[in-house]
Symmetry: C2
Subunit: 275 residues, 2 copies
DNA sequence: TGACTATATTTATTATGATAAATAGGAAAA
DNA sequence: TTTTCCTATTTATCATAATAAATATAGTCA
């Protein structure tokens, strides 16, 4: 007669479940990061100390750190001066988590292009004043990569990825972090949208590649002249054109989002930008 | 003399670090979910069986499951018929993870409104044909909540949240899951953007609330008439107007994103939509 | 002096076993 | 029939110990 009190709160359906100890530790550490203004590079106490601080066992601390690691808040390593260090949540990690969400949704190529048409012209226009010499060179290099006719299936796929990289360069140059993130998300989702049942060397695809190169060249020229209006106009036309090609392809194949774990080629977007 | 082979791959700077056992298990389980077409509701083997299957210890399995739980892929519970069950990654979880990313960025209210102006008119327009009687009633209820003059600071804050709920209703009615997600993200980010150093009862805020109610009423009327063009037009005007008010407020206060752990009021967006 | 190598130290990582808490389902009582 | 209680099952937490990885330091050779 000492452990009653379990009639009222039945977590059966979807009521509040008692939070686990590990999650409480996670909350506490997050609060630390906020209140103590921890910045990327700062280190958390080592596991043993965290055990004492929160009066929990090793395994519990470990699960808490694992959670924070998955969320992208910390990075842990062994050795002296090791342990958990705060890091700025990496973009790639966030991508992955969003893709997990979209994985369960029926996302169509056209759904993505609908959003793309709304955002990308503005993004490009806003990026123009901030493009550096380095950016122009990177864009030029990207175009050159896609210029030749693809010789193999791998080649063709790589070029589609490189096409997206061109847009990533523009995205990174835009000073609006919110818009930037959304456009990078669009690009990443297109990257993750694999297409089945069709030869990437088919005419529609090579045609897409050809027109992309032309459009990118025009965009680059206009961007070099800092012609914001023209860039906006060209970008909209570019995406609309690409959409029609993709849509034509779509008649003969099906597409779906894939998880990180089943990505065949590791398509790491090159996102470094040093001004 | 049996453990050499550690000269070449030095994870010092940011090279590839040997993946931990737990992460490998995560990958494997994800592959399971994909290849074996596990759907939400399906259950994973219990911890003890997973130990045997992957030849790892209890703690390792536990960390792997924790990772999957944080990612929103599974939900674990105790007792008979407990264990890990696959769930559709919840929207709220994804929100949280994206907010983690944005937390480290300098996101301005205007940055968000820039994106909002691009997306929301199209979103509303696309939602109009799919709005149900139930949706209309919900929108009306939302407007009614915001109609009276706020009596307290809490009241005022609650109304700002309810304003966003109006937009959430529209978002959920749009059939494009990608656009839907982006707009919900915009709304959620606005929710998380707390504002310091100003009284929410100040004139700019009450003025914002007043014009919001008027705009929402007009929007609802146009939506009831299924006037897509008008809804698009009204929505753009509505957001532009709201932006100017928010911008005026912004002169006297600073804003920043907050983490889940430091949310004072638990502002759970009501996102259920049963057709 | 300079660069390289071995060694020791620090820290995370994995493993094992034991106990506590929560839950579903059935058994017993009203 | 309804309620209450018991019990088997499964995760949650704790404790301890051994292993592996990363780094700093001292030491060695040129």
């Amino acid at each position: 007669m000492a452990r009653k009190a379990s009639t009222a709160r039945s977590p059966a359906n979807d009521a509040v479940r008692a939070p686990k100890r590990g999650d409480l530790v996670v909350e506490e550490i997050k609060r630390w990061i906020v209140t103590r203004q921890l910045k990327p590079g700062d280190r958390l106490p080592k596991e043993a100390e965290l055990q004492d601080l929160f009066s929990v066992s090793k395994g519990t601390v470990r699960e808490a750190l694992k959670s924070l690691e998955v969320q992208g808040f910390i990075s842990v390593s062994t050795g002296p001066s090791g342990g958990a260090t705060v890091v700025e949540v990496p973009l790639e990690r966030t991508f992955q988590l969003v893709q997990n969400y979209l994985f369960f949704k029926e996302v169509d190529v056209r759904d993505i292009y609908t959003v793309r048409k709304m955002l990308e012209p503005e993004l490009a226009a806003g990026a123009v004043p901030h493009l550096t010499k380095r950016d122009f060179e990177a864009m030029e290099a990207s175009i050159d990569t896609c210029a030749p006719t693809p010789a193999s299936v791998d080649d063709a796929l790589r070029m589609r990825q490189e096409d997206l990289h061109f847009h990533d360069i523009l995205a990174e140059a835009n000073p609006n972090p919110f818009l930037r993130f959304f456009c990078q998300m669009v690009n990443q989702t297109l990257r993750r949208l694999v297409v089945f049942g069709a030869n990437p060397l088919q005419s529609h695809n090579t045609e897409l590649g050809r027109t992309n190169v032309l459009a990118h060249r025009e965009l680059l020229a206009a961007a070099r002249k800092r012609d914001v209006e023209k860039v906006r106009r060209l970008m909209l036309a570019h995406i609309e054109e690409a959409e029609t090609h993709v849509f034509r392809m779509h008649g003969t194949m099906s597409s779906r989002l894939v998880l990180d774990s089943e990505m065949r080629v590791n398509i790491t977007p090159r996102l470094a930008r040093k001004p």
